[in-house]
Symmetry: C2
Subunit: 406 residues, 2 copies
């Protein structure tokens, strides 16, 4: 059993890096607060006797030796970056639980056959730089390192510049650190476990994701003197697109979601009809066929709306992540650990994307979920109980021990 109080303590200790007045965390990837938590994490890894490597995209790896160093280690961990108004658990729980597993093994003097390696992946959230789960995507070769290094945030700062500014552009080439498998603990970020009163979610699949960048070019004109029929209003156009995306997702019941998260009017003024808007779209399903339908429906709606309103709408797909089917053997290992420890559990699909979803395309991976209050995440009110967090960390530890061998 891991040390529940110690794990809880580290979660709340690191929550001060970027703490918000409402009790959440604002720790955008590669910003100053991310540097603070990274420095803390590196020191904690050093103190736990781990050999720390940082790769050229800033992902951090802390290696704990095993008896057979010819074997690729079992990976465990998550991420320490947060949303602009994020919570204390998303990513943090999985990363600090990995640290807690190492501390527990150290305290108990347990040596594993296969080495284990705890990870903090760069930019999982995707709110400063797109796509989300950026570093693990580069790790499995979905993007080249150079491509990722040149991505820009809204202020034009590249990933490379951001890494340099906090001193976390590491030496280790992306992909150099090998893994024989990867296990990630995370809060569910949805309402199912809580509603069904289950402690552990054995994650067997994950939704696919479509991300788009959109731009609407209408025509600025005077709000008072431009007759309604002559308008080419970019915001009215966006409004129809938002509602069309919502309707297209709802058609599939619980099997799809669709969201416009960002929309920025260029040069806004009260008495000017909006002429230009940049926006983003996020839509998802665990069913690849439904993903295709969402894409088709969205494009068809935009074609109809833009023609009728005589505005120009550009829609660029910037990321397509197919649905994830986690490795059956690792999923069974997670389930076995939950059973062995006596926790109530169920199989579950992840609504959110995770680094484990990317890694699963190249190495066997699986995930452990624990409930979060009211299913709320990406919100400063995100909450989880100490005992659920500890339960998740125990399942993580025993899954890893089953994979690494004692």
């Amino acid at each position: 059993q891991i040390d529940s109080a110690r794990l809880w303590g580290t979660i709340h200790e690191t929550a001060k890096f970027g703490a918000t007045p409402k009790g959440g965390v604002r720790r955008l990837t590669l910003g100053p607060e991310d540097k603070q938590v990274r420095d803390w994490f590196r020191k904690a890894c050093d103190a736990a006797g781990l050999e720390v490597q940082v790769d050229t995209l800033g992902s951090m790896f802390g290696l704990r030796k095993g008896r057979d160093m010819s074997k690729a280690p079992v990976g465990l961990g998550s991420h320490l970056d947060t949303q602009p108004t994020g919570g204390k658990y998303d990513g943090v729980l999985g990363t600090l639980a990995a640290l807690e597993v190492v501390r527990t093994l150290n305290d108990a003097g347990i040596e594993t056959e296969t080495p284990i390696c705890i990870c903090n992946w760069t930019n999982e959230e995707g709110s400063r730089f797109a796509p989300a789960m950026m570093a693990s995507a580069a790790y499995v070769g979905d993007f080249t390192t150079d491509d990722i290094l040149s991505r820009r945030d809204i202020d034009g700062v590249t990933v490379g510049e951001a890494l340099d500014s906090i001193g976390y552009r590491g030496e280790s080439p992306v992909g150099r650190q090998k893994f024989s498998g990867f296990v990630e603990l995370h809060i569910e970020q949805g309402p199912i476990l809580e509603a069904e009163n289950k402690t552990i979610g054995v994650v067997d699949s994950g939704q696919g994701v479509l991300w788009y960048d959109g731009k609407i070019i209408g025509f600025e004109s005077h709000a008072g003197s431009t007759p309604m029929p002559l308008r080419r209003d970019a915001l009215a156009t966006l409004s129809e697109i938002v509602l069309a995306m919502e309707a297209a997702a709802k058609k599939h019941g619980p099997k799809a979601v669709g969201t416009i998260g960002e929309a920025v009017i260029a040069n806004p003024s009260r008495n000017v009809i909006p002429g230009e808007i940049a926006f983003t779209v996020d839509c998802r399903s665990a069913d690849a066929g439904i993903m295709d339908t969402l894409d088709r429906d969205l494009r068809a709606a935009i074609a109809e709306i833009s023609a009728r309103r005589k505005v120009d709408v550009q829609l660029d797909l910037v990321w397509r992540k197919p649905p994830t089917h986690f490795d059956p053997k690792l999923v069974d290992a997670v389930e076995g650990a939950a059973k062995m420890l006596g926790y109530s559990h169920r199989r579950i699909t992840s609504g959110a994307g995770h680094d484990a979803c990317n890694l699963n395309t190249k190495i066997p991976a699986a995930m452990v979920f624990v409930p979060c209050k009211d299913g709320i995440s990406h919100n400063e009110l995100e909450d989880a109980t100490q005992s659920d967090c500890a339960a998740g960390a125990n399942v993580l530890m025993h899954t890893v021990l089953a994979l690494a061998g004692v």
Copy 2:
């Protein structure tokens, strides 16, 4: 006849203060570019022998003596501030045509019975500080000077601070400068004169205006893992409000307009359902009954949408300007001047608000419109011809001469 080339020259000379790459002007009220154009205007007034006064809200008055100095002068002019992406004519034409009238009278050695006074009113546009036509509203007592001085822009700067920062908080109390009448020349900012091939619009009325500040409080949550039925999406809510405002205005055919010009998502992120949005509403009609209907329809739509979506929507009326009916005698004077000069003309309602609309509540006022290209205004592409501008200035001069007496 005024000097058409000289007028055209001043319009293009002052367009350099805040010139944008697309050929428009960005000269927000009381900003550095506004100071530049004010300094230019003051020098031009001095050179034309006018006695310049600046009031405590920064409005500028250039007095030209008449034979009977016991009479309140006839006012003429407009404003020199612009929209964030504004054009070269909106406000500028009326202010510089007033200067051109003085220059023409000086050159011809014409003395008027009643003095005349050319004006540059502060913050007509209303995009930096609300409401629009701020200084003329204070002039007629719709707001106190202290109230206006404490209004803040989006960065929290007050009108008072902005005035001090460019040295234009004048000595003259607001309202001290009296007028016996006021005439304003302006581009139409709508498509009617051009469509009907008329040179002069004899403005007999103006739309009333309702301005609101709105705020939507939904709930931020994860775009991937939050089921559609559990969402409280602030942007989907706004989208319905935008379309409801549009429909409410369209119901009245050409008799109403409605616009959401500003909408800002708090802490936006691609994979976060928008939780909070601030927005503004501008709706107008020349019919006070329709204005009431627009207000009722908007509030009813918001009540229904917010209840159904379980979000909170606040809507505060920040400005209500009733419809304007310009002084019949002054309207006749404008029409008489247009007729006498042989310009094609028609009576017209102003879609936009103007300082003359405010002044008309206390002193007889009227307006002269000239066509603008495709009816476009509040856009960098705003355009008008030299001959139409000159025609408008001639009508302005002869209206003023008829009122002031020679």
